[in-house]
Amino acid sequence: MASVPSKLYSDDVSLLVVLIDTNPFFWGGVNTTNASSSLSFSTFIAHVLSFINSILLLNQLSQVVVIATGVNSCNYIYDSSSQTVTENSENGIIPARSSQILRKLEEFVSADEQLSKDLSQARVFSLLSGSLSLALCYIQRVFRTGSLHPQPRILCLQGSPDGPEQYVAVMNAIFSAQRSMVPIDSCVIGSQHSAFLQQASYITAGVYLKPQHLDGLFQYLSTVFATDLLSRSVLELPKPAGVDFRASCFCHKKTIDMGYICSVCLSIFCKHHKKCSTCGSVFGEAHPEVTSTSDKKRKTPMA
């Protein structure tokens, strides 16, 4: 990491970590269906690269890190602080920075493909938990460089749907972001809302947005997501109406106000079970000397 004279940092210097969804099934699907409301990968990349350039233009001390979220792997594909000599682009058509990012992106996609060859069945979910963790690791390293550092935030650009099996890992990442006070902004470019990102932004006080006009993505990015943390205290940003945190039971998937919670793994059930279906803990009958691990508790009603 290049060392920038730290005393120059002020409140409005940002470290923006951009997570790009590179799920080939998502982009390929978009491309083949050719729906007018959806976004092609080339448009997406063009808008995102322009956005990154404008962030770096806004404040020359600001730093941008790009992480690709693949199906089998995640990796850093760009870091503005470790930029090597600005050689001219290969063919003069694409600016140097964009060309560098594209080259790395291409390498990443190939590497990701290599990994998927071993799998008999393609997984369609992107590894959001992985790229969130990479982003948080990077930010933690920046935190440790001293008391003066750029203000970090994460921007998730996601198109593919949430991967339910990543639930634990994603929630852990979200809570660790909350703990380090790193806001996670979410821009959903797929057809469905993302429950993960909705929660991530809600918990970390970031912005959640699902743009209506995807061909104007750059406008959304620069109007909403370019806002640094200092300016957020004075600017009005889109706010969701709120998140419904009511849970449904694991057994019947119906929304409940009161139920039983496994004290080991926090699974929710609408009636008493002998054994937790999630973690296998055996629930004792409720006599006074119940052991702590098999305790059965009533869930407090959520109003």
Binding site: F25, W27, E113, D162, Q166, Y167, Q198, K239, P301, A303
Partner: protein
Amino acid sequence: MASRQVVMRAKYKNSVRDPGIQGVLIMMEDKISFTPDDPTSSVRVNIEVKSIKSLKFSKEGSQRALLNLILDPDIKEGGCIFEFEKFSDRDVCRDFVSRVLAKLQALQSSVKDSKTVSERPVDEQLSTAEMRHRMKLLQENIELQKLHKQFVISGVLTEAEFWATRKELLAVHASKTPKQRVGFKSAMIADVRPLTDGRSNLVTFNLTPEIIHQIFAEKPAVHKAYLSFVPRKMSEMDFWKKYCRAEYLHKTKNAVAAAAEAADDEELAVFLKHDEILASEARRKLRRVDPTLDMEADQGDDYMHLPDHGIFRDGSKETIDTEYDEYKRTLAQNLNRHAAVVLEGRALDVELGDTQTVAEALFRYKQSELATETSDENSTQERLERLSRMTEIEDLQDSHNLPFAPLCIKDPREYFDSQQANAVKALGDTEIGTKPVNCVLSTQQAYGSLKIIISEIKENGFSYPIVKPDVALKVLNGLTQHLSSTKHHLGKSPQDTVLDRLPQRTREELLHHWACIQELLKHFWSSYPITTKSLHTKVSRVKDALSEIYPKLQGIKESAQSDFRHQVSLLVQPMLQALDAAFAHYDAEMQKRPGKSAERPNGYA
């Protein structure tokens, strides 16, 4: 706030015509007492506030300022009449008593209500202190007071039920430490300087019981000498004379003279020489010093900026002379010893005054202290262990593996499903679930097309403009509209809450209702599953109270001005939902009720 005690001069009378006895009337929150000025008088009045039935008083401007406390006839027929010098004095006392009575009655009535309403006996017999603590909590917290008034006094909740959910408030009281004890003065006794009258050679030392106690505590040799010399060998007077003589010699700093006198008088020598007991105690303490103590860490502490460290001793002239070293005391020694004794505190519970008693008590105390100390052998072992613990190098240690059962979650997707549906529904999205993306493509096709797109961009560059102006305008308009509509719904700045924009009265009403609903719901839900009859009655009581709030909320919603109606209904909505959920649960349980005997009893009563 009003004081907790009133002290007033007054006359106590048995009847209005009785001339009365002059004395002092002390009124406290639990009792009232009267002490006559004449100590020989047999009149003693002690009235428990709870035995007071009512009070009467003479009108302002009438002949005398009287206050009559009518007591429980079982305790005293008639009443206690007090006459005051001024009406203003009387009014202070009258107001105090009536305030205390009102508070007591409020508490008593709620306890009584709870007896009649809940069928289980209220076995909780509150002590006066406990009662007073609760009243104090209510006084300090207006919110709590409102809830208490609304639910306990009206009988919805019993006193015990109300406080059962607030045990942490009551616990603070229980853990209060006993009253502070006075320790030794931090001034050194050396500061009590000998007085000379300037004419004769007479030097006067002034020893008070306090000073003697301190001398014994600071100088174990003197203490020991006293126990062995007085009264067998010499009188107490002679003992202190010798002590003062020795002190005087120390003051003159004449080590040579001190040595000469000590050679002549072996008792005097005891006072002049170094205190052996102290020295051995110091050595013992040294052996016990924590081996990991870092003396250098204190180096920054500055004790040196005060000339003479603020005491009347001149340490600078105390040079060390080995020959008479034994007869010298350095400032540092005295200072340290004094500090140690002050920090140790006063452990004796005997009345100061009789020197012998004090000396013996101190002796017993020291003995018991020695007995409780662990033997040196044990402490050596402990020190060694501590040392090895502190110096161990983390990398070279075994990992402290504690036995644990790994958590294995069969399917984390369950957690996702449990929350996802509601979360996405809240956004008004009809597409629920994780619809898999187009899987028509094979892995190869998918990656292939993505790579082709990337290389196409690299070859052809981006298509400019990145964003078409009309699209950008559309986006900006859309965002602005979205922002202004949410702003309208959710308040101006992120810090503002909707509540701030509502009229004061509406806001307070809403907050109060919300506090009430929360309190009642807490009791409602915690009563399930219903295992006893009293829980059953409690639930129906609480449910009735909840249903009374329902129309009030509707009322607020309807009476709100049109500007705020939308916000108010947004705020009221979750409250109504919470109430509905409780009612639905109540009804469902009532339906099940006939078959309840089959229900497995469970321990959560």
